[in-house]
Amino acid sequence: MNWFKKKIYPPFWKAYIASFKEKKSDTLEHLRFVVFDTETTGLDTKKDRILSIGSIAVIGNTLKVTDSLESYLSQDLFKAETVKIHGLLKEGAIKKVTEEEAIIQFLEHIGNSILVAHHAAFDVTMINQALKRLKLPKLKNKVLDTGHLFQKTKLDTSKKHFGLDQLSKKFNIPQHDRHTASGDAFITALLFVKLIGILKKKNPSLTLNYLLRSNDRIGLL
């Protein structure tokens, strides 16, 4: 069947792709962001698997609890040593879905919104790996990293890498449900709106492009 030039994708992927044709708001206040976090069996993006995904939409300075997603995945891979971090048991009582089902729900939830995560590269790669297993291309969304956004505030330049724990402490965000995907997504979302607030104060005409620009480039400018 190699004469198929164009691969045929399942409807959910088509819908996801189609969402990018919709016109997006051009002001930061009205853009839909989706802050997300994944809990995984480990840190190896090739071998490890996603155990749970939590995401919540943010528009302006508001977190939309109705517009949030929490899913738990049934995975064959199970690592006892990471259970103590995320607390997810292989045969836990939580209702679980297949990886495919979780990805469908996730794509539906994010649509064409801007993704936000703390140290986003890891979470995005984990999702992309899952997509790859489903024989699908990578995520198309623009991605913001709250770690980078913090660097842009220049509040603390002592090091490049600040963990979610350190930053939530710094910004007085209660650390409820840390190391659950939705708990971390919620904390990250609060961190995100606080960081945007700070950056806006420094630069009232803040744009998405400025937020997307990497720090290295700023260094060159």
Binding site: N61, V65, S68, E70, D177, A185, L190
Partner: protein, 630 residues
């Protein structure tokens, strides 16, 4: 279950009206909340804006509500407070502006959810309607409501849970009777429980030792199991006095074992003896008053007074209506005072040369004194011929001295400001008192106003009641002939404006021993007392001294201001309750409250009290046209 919604419901469940919803309702609301972040000084909504379809709950930080044009802070909302609801219920535009005065996280809840879950819940909607739509303040910890059905003293006495002894003395089954008796002797108890794995097996009482040992029927070397009564009768810890009495009668026993779940197979946590019940019975108010009558010495009275304190402590713990507790305690205090006066007169070389009356003044006169505080009193004696005056006054001064000292010896401390009948200034004849009142009323400087606030609340305690009536009438006559006096009294009543934004600014007493504490008497109670006195005097009513009773009377006299007075009466009850609770907790007068120790419900209640103060002060300011003076 969505974790985020779970967290939100965990927060909301502690605050009214959300604490009145079912878990399912609360969770339905929590999963549809929006979480807003506001930096310091950002607007949430502004005056004139069309209302948003939602109301707000402060999660973290603080939000100020302002009258936009004048930039006046009307209210400050902190953790758990609701705002923006009035606009939602009335529709239209926002009348106030809401601004984050600290960096804040605020939840918003849509009007649809509000209608679906809150207005359909009668308790929750009553709360909201009363706190936001009208002047009547709902009090989150309304002690009266909880015990409304318990009108009769005897009834709730029976329903009280019995106080049992914790840490009962126990021994193992293999213990010898002799060692058990030694333990009982050392611990000075009349019973010992035989336990295995902490579960009660049997009991030995003094009676068993008498019947089974002293008669020689068993040897003291045998194990306790030989003579113990078994099985024991067990109850859970919330057993009421009535239940305990019935059980003891039914089983013809004098001790009940209290276990964790009330069964024999759970852990022993206490023992309730017949004696415990007798002790509680003995502290009943009627028993105490009877004992006061029978008492012959100040020492006996002192003992009774201490038990009255225990009684009060129990009332407060059991949330018995504060008005009831106040009446009982005042009655006991009054009968103790009467007894002391009787004893003191007997110690005098002669009978009183003329008729006299003993007056309680200040908070005692208003019957608002629950805890032991200073004594405040005065004496009035009938007019006598000039030639007799000196001798008469000396007699009553020396009598008063005896009375004051005896009151002091049983725990009513001497008044540091010397507001006592043994002070020549406050031991006067009827005509001297009349002149005194007239002088205070016609020259109402700061000192005289203060004296008015203390002495106008006098209450007859002992002696010739007619003298008291004459004094009351003379006050009204003087006020009528000098009506500007009420304006001065009004100004005085406005001296302490309510600290509305109090929990954020911590408007606490900054100096002295009570740093970081809040003076609940001066800042919340006195304004209400002063307002009630002023208003009731302006109505020419003297029969009522008690602040709550005064507000109730005012509600009758001025139906148009019913809501304000009702709020004041509720507020005062709460404050009295509060102060008593704090006083018992810290073994002091309860006047200074450590804000850190307050629960959110208490803070809300306290805040509502301030709102009542503000309203009645506004009313006074308008009625007595005081703006020009301020």
């Amino acid at each position: 279950m969505n974790l985020i919604a779970k967290r939100i419901s965990d927060f909301l469940k502690d605050f009214p009206p959300f604490n009145m919803l079912s878990q399912a309702q609360l969770f339905a609301i929590s999963s549809e909340v929006e979480v807003h972040y506001f930096e310091k000084n950002t607007d949430i909504f502004t005056t004139g804006q069309t209302i948003k379809n939602q109301f707000y709950v402060v999660k973290d930080g603080a939000v100020g509500l302002f009258i936009e044009e004048k930039n006046i802070l009307v209210d400050e909302c902190d953790e758990g407070d609701i705002f923006g609801l009035r606009a939602l219920m009335r529709q239209g535009n926002y009348k106030l502006s809401a601004k984050a005065i600290e960096e804040s996280i605020v939840y918003s809840i849509s009007s649809e959810l509000f209608e679906e879950y809150i207005t359909t819940n009668s308790e929750a909607s009553t709360f909201l309607m009363s706190s936001f739509a009208s002047n009547i303040r709902y009090t989150a910890t309304d002690p009266e409501k909880k015990n409304q059905s318990k009108e009769h003293l005897q009834d709730f006495f029976e329903e009280q849970s019995a106080a049992y002894s914790k840490n009962p003395i126990q021994c193992a089954p293999e213990t010898s009777i002799k060692s058990a008796a030694l333990i009982m002797t050392n611990k000075r108890v009349g019973s010992i429980i035989i336990t295995k794995n902490k579960k009660p097996l049997g009991i030995i009482t003094d009676k068993d030792l008498r019947i089974k040992i002293a008669t020689g029927s068993s040897s003291i070397e045998e194990p306790v199991t030989k003579i113990m009564s078994s099985p024991v009768i067990t109850y859970p810890e919330n057993i009421t006095i009535a239940e305990a009495q019935i059980a003891m009668l039914k089983y013809r026993i004098t001790h009940l074992c209290i276990t964790e779940d009330g069964s024999k197979d759970s852990k022993l946590i206490g023992i309730l003896s017949e004696h415990d019940i007798v002790v509680v019975r003995g502290n009943s108010p009627s028993a105490l008053v009877k004992e006061v009558r029978r008492a012959k010495t100040p020492e006996q009275l002192q003992h009774i007074r201490k038990r009255a304190e225990q009684l009060l402590e129990r009332y407060i713990k059991q949330q018995i209506p504060i008005m009831f507790a106040t009446k009982i305690l005042s009655a006991i205090n009054e009968s103790i005072t009467q007894k002391i006066i009787d004893i003191s007169i007997k110690e005098m070389p002669t009978v009183p040369p003329t008729s006299f009356a003993w007056l309680a003044i200040g908070s005692q006169g208003r019957e608002e004194q629950l805890l032991l505080t200073d004594q405040d009193n005065a004496l009035v004696f009938n007019n006598v011929k000039d030639s007799e005056y000196k001798k008469t006054k000396e007699y009553f001064l020396s009598l008063s001295k005896k009375i004051n000292q005896k009151l002091n010896s049983i725990g009513f401390e001497l008044c540091p400001a010397n507001m006592m009948a043994s002070n020549p200034a406050w031991c006067l004849s009827v005509s001297e008192w009349e002149q005194q009142f007239k002088k205070w009323i016609t020259t109402p400087d700061q000192d005289n106003l203060m004296l008015c606030t203390i002495f106008f609340d006098f209450e007859y305690v002992y002696g010739d009641k007619n003298l008291v009536t004459i004094l009351a009438e003379s006050i009204f006559e003087s006020i009528a002939s000098h009506d500007i006096f009420l304006n001065f009294l009004g100004l005085n009543a406005l001296k302490n404006p309510p600290p509305l934004s109090f929990f954020r600014q911590f408007l606490v007493e900054r100096d002295g021993d009570h740093k970081d504490q809040f003076d609940v008497k001066a800042r919340a109670m006195m304004p209400l007392v002063d307002a009630a006195r002023l208003l009731i005097l302006s109505k020419n009513v003297k029969a009522h001294n008690n602040t709550i009773v005064r507000y109730k009377k005012l509600m009758e006299l001025e139906p148009q201001n019913r809501d304000v007075y009702a709020a004041c009466s509720e507020a005062f009850k709460n404050l009295l309750y509060f102060r008593t609770q704090q006083g018992l907790l810290h073994k002091d007068s309860g006047r200074f409250i450590d804000l850190q120790t307050l629960s959110k419900a208490d803070r809300l209640a306290l805040k509502n009290c301030f709102k009542a103060v503000k309203e009645v002060q506004d009313l006074i300011q308008t009625r007595f046209k005081l703006s020009q003076f301020l």
